[in-house]
Symmetry: C2
Subunit: 202 residues, 2 copies
Amino acid sequence: MSGIEALDVLAEQFARMPGIGRKSAERLALSLLNDSADDVETLVNAITEARARIHRCPVCQNLTDKEICPVCADPGRDHTTLCVVEDPRAVMAFERVRTFRGVYHVLHGLISPMNGVTPDGICLRELLARLADGTVKEVIVATGATTEGEATAMYIGRLLAPLGVQVTRLAHGIPYGGALEYADEITLSRALEGRRNMEERQ
Amino acid sequence: MSGIEALDVLAEQFARMPGIGRKSAERLALSLLNDSADDVETLVNAITEARARIHRCPVCQNLTDKEICPVCADPGRDHTTLCVVEDPRAVMAFERVRTFRGVYHVLHGLISPMNGVTPDGICLRELLARLADGTVKEVIVATGATTEGEATAMYIGRLLAPLGVQVTRLAHGIPYGGALEYADEITLSRALEGRRNMEERQ
């Protein structure tokens, strides 16, 4: 606490953000006070613009500033192969690899009873709705190799079993406990190549 | 890069901040998109409020939202003992300790030829002006125990030598290379108690 109210209020806002502790929040707040008025305006505009323009793609739930996101709108992508991921950062990671030519479905979370996230709290309803017309032949469950990632994958496997669609899981090239967006490109590529049917795993 | 322009622009703004890398910037940008509209408004208001209200105290150069900062305006403080610090975070650290009853002078930087910061680039002119009326009897140079902190202290020692004011330096209770704002309260207290005249050190 600096004793300067407006500064403490600002530092508190930064401290609410993921991965930002009290000291970092203080440092960020002070750095904004040292920035030029132009730089601060640019930041504030970037925040309001991003909020105004970016929404979820109605098809895959990924974030986009277009009506339909560029991946879903691309007829060159393989719309029969659907990669289910936790969040938009995982999509970014896959797109950096460039070996995946299918499309995505973003869950915006993982099932986590500890944190009160039930299957209804993530975009599973939208996933089921998408599979209704039979276009999708394979669902690759690409949640991270964490406890919640594995539990969510298992849930999806059971949920989709009656639909007759092939459900695969990323190979365990991903280091255990590793968050997906930190995987290097080769690890991600190998995990993708080595994917197998979910039934075989049990 | 997400391929979503407004998101990349926002992440770039965060990446400009101290201690924020590319991955963290991406995470912060995405977290803002998941926040409620109210939360985002609160953040934007906190930024603009802090910028509008906070300025440098004309006496000590510390940040404040008052005309004169509460320390300089407090007749209960010892206005004959002046503690010279690098930045407002150091003042916060001293104020948390509560054993220091003097007043401050904030340099807003350290002399750093490597980074192109000359003595003119920090608030030394304001320090000299403050010492003109003879109120201050002791100047405690409380820059950090880093190379630049030591060099700046030495420069101040020489600068003030002709003025007949006592110039002291914090004792080496501060761990070498340690930034001042991370020192624990006992270390800071001891460093303050063990301060000695700068001439004795050479």
